[in-house]
């Protein structure tokens, strides 16, 4: 009898433990969601504030407690921002520089990566180590001499200093990414093409470039964000008002004497919106691009 009761009561007890475990798991999961939601809000507050303020009337900007939903919505802020500064011209300049620099980055990093991954020549491995070492080189040491160099060739106040370097390798990190990706593609295609008499350039352009579109897309997106947002280089190289990029020109909207923050935020949106659109359209590439770097574990 005693034995029987114990065997009968056991499942009940186990069920009790199990439901306690379920409850604990549910609580942990609930807390996990809560923390994620709170952190998401914290990360998004500045952007939300920028968008909201760009649509406020002057009076609501300084309201306390802060007003989150503008009422009425004032789209005129954007028109007013355009009157205060040549935002569309700056937008055009930024677009020209960014598109050209992205093109240069993708083309040249792909070509150089091809050289390091697929062609055998003396000194290649030594040069590749040198390339990796330059990733850790702080750019500040070349800031002044580059300016002097570009001044000597008459490129100050032109777009060239912001575009031409992108065509010269497109950054050590990007070359590294492309090379790692090309190494994962079997050489069978190359060999077959070579037997058919294809040159190295045909193998690069016709076989490897189409196969590497994921990595090249990721590089293009990162290069776009970098050049679109870049501030220090335009600051150093561009001088006249009609050559400025949007990032450089926006600086004029940081003015302690000027209280029209709604207009400043509207002006900022000209720079932010294209990046937001790109980010939301291409966000899987951001994450995949980082994963592709293959730095996890080695």
């Amino acid at each position: 009898m005693a034995e029987q009761t114990s065997t009968f009561s056991q499942p009940k007890a186990r069920r009790g433990i199990r439901s306690a475990q379920y409850a604990k798991k549910a609580i942990v999961r609930g807390l996990h969601y809560l923390v994620l939601v709170v952190l998401s809000c914290i990360f998004l507050v500045p952007l939300a504030w920028m968008i909201s303020t760009s649509l406020k009337e002057q009076g609501q900007v300084f309201a306390y407690p802060p007003v989150w939903i503008p009422h009425p919505v004032r789209w005129d802020n954007y028109a007013e921002a355009m009157q205060r500064a040549p935002l569309l011209l700056w937008l055009r300049n930024t677009a020209i520089i960014t598109v050209a620099a992205v093109l240069g980055t993708v083309l040249s990093s792909s070509l150089v990566g091809f050289g390091f991954a697929r062609l055998r020549f003396p000194g290649r491995d030594w040069l590749f180590v040198l390339l990796l070492a330059t990733m850790m080189l702080p750019g500040v040491v070349t800031l002044i001499p580059r300016f002097i160099l570009f001044r000597a060739v008459g490129w100050i106040d032109t777009f060239y200093p912001l575009i031409v370097p992108a065509f010269l390798g497109g950054g050590a990190f990007n070359i590294f990414l492309v090379r790692q990706f090309y190494l994962t593609i079997p050489t069978d295609f190359d060999d077959a093409a070579r037997v058919d008499g294809a040159s190295s350039w045909r193998i690069w352009w016709d076989i490897l470039v189409p196969l590497s579109s994921p990595v090249l897309t990721a590089i293009a997106i990162f290069a776009f964000v970098y050049h679109w947002n870049e501030f220090l280089e335009p600051l150093v190289y561009l001088q006249s008002e009609d050559k400025k990029t949007l990032a450089l020109g926006l600086r004029a909207f940081i003015n302690p004497m000027d209280a029209s923050w709604n207009i400043s935020m509207a002006a900022s949106m000209f720079l932010v919106v294209p990046i937001l659109v790109l980010f939301l359209l291409g966000q899987r590439y951001f994450v995949r691009g980082v994963v592709m770097t293959g730095i996890h574990g080695r």
Partner: protein, 299 residues
């Protein structure tokens, strides 16, 4: 195949190889190594860009030793780096761990966490200049709601550097995503084995996650410190080095010397000093790394 062989190489392929990497080689020589050498020569000259440069020997280096602003700027930079980088790493790793768990809507959270780091620095600056405004800014509004006294934020030498560090924490998404990629590369079997051995949450983190992630931690640490030592934009836009030189970081000082006072020789000297400091820290970290970084397959 065309041509003969040169000790195991095909000459055609060798030629193509050098041609393929030529853009990078030209860039390396013309935009990196050449300018570095030129900048080293500049440290022995005085040059305002408009009159011919004059050779001054070691005068710039003597001046550097006696210039209090150089040491102020190095102290500010070190403060910003050694407080900011560990904080960034901690926030990024915590965020990555939260995002790594298999939950619904995870992609949405990842987007929210990452979004601020693609924001243009200038747009951020416009925004935070106002958030930090002592009278009408959002930061003090929040403090007031909590019943706390307001702060002067970037307008007080005591809180200016912490304010810039705080602002920078928003853009930690890049570091976070790299951690996340690292976490996804850790084999699940290791955690299962640890569970079988009765390891708790902390033990699994300490003895599985941290060692397996250590190469990624090293990468983020090295790159984070190199980047942080070159902090410029936020300080230039928000405080211009003030108040009382409390946010005069070294790159900002170099910029002021070179492009506001056209003191190219001395600006290059300070740049070389910073270069040597960064290089020393990088090499030190790489040297120390074999004591804590675990590379799979090397043991």
């Amino acid at each position: 195949m065309v041509g003969g062989r040169l000790s195991g190489y095909r000459w055609r392929e060798v030629l193509d190889g050098y041609l393929a990497i030529a853009p990078w080689l030209v860039g390396l020589l013309g935009l990196v190594l050449g300018p570095m050498l030129g900048s080293l020569v500049l440290t022995f000259t005085r040059w305002d860009l408009f009159s011919p440069p004059s050779w001054v020997g070691l005068a710039n280096w003597h001046r550097l030793l006696q210039d209090p602003l150089v040491w102020t700027s190095l102290w500010n930079t070190a403060y910003y780096t050694f407080l900011g980088v560990p904080l960034t790493m901690a926030v990024a790793l915590t965020g990555a761990l939260l995002l790594h768990a298999p939950l619904r809507l995870q992609a949405l959270f990842r987007t929210a966490f990452y979004l601020p780091s693609v924001m243009p620095a200038v747009a951020n600056a416009v925004l935070w200049f106002w958030i930090f405004n002592p009278e009408v800014g959002l930061a003090n509004s929040l403090l007031r709601m909590l019943g706390l006294p307001g702060l002067q934020w970037i307008f007080d030498p005591v809180t200016s550097k912490p304010s810039l560090i705080l602002m920078n924490l928003w853009t930690t998404g890049n570091t976070m995503i790299i951690f996340l990629a690292g976490l996804q590369g850790i084999p699940q079997s290791l955690y299962e084995a640890a569970l079988v051995d009765g390891a708790g949450w902390w033990q699994r983190f300490r003895h599985v996650t941290v060692p397996m992630l250590s190469p990624v931690i090293l990468f983020n640490l090295v790159m984070g410190i190199i980047g942080s030592f070159q902090v410029f934009t936020n300080a230039y836009l928000l405080t211009d080095g003030g108040p009382a030189h409390s946010t005069l970081f070294t790159v900002l000082y170099i910029y002021q010397l070179g492009f506001e006072r056209f003191d190219m020789g001395y600006a290059s000297t300070v740049a070389w000093l910073l270069f040597v400091v960064i290089l020393a820290f990088t090499l030190l970290q790489l040297r120390l790394s074999n004591q804590w970084v675990y590379y799979e397959g090397l043991r």
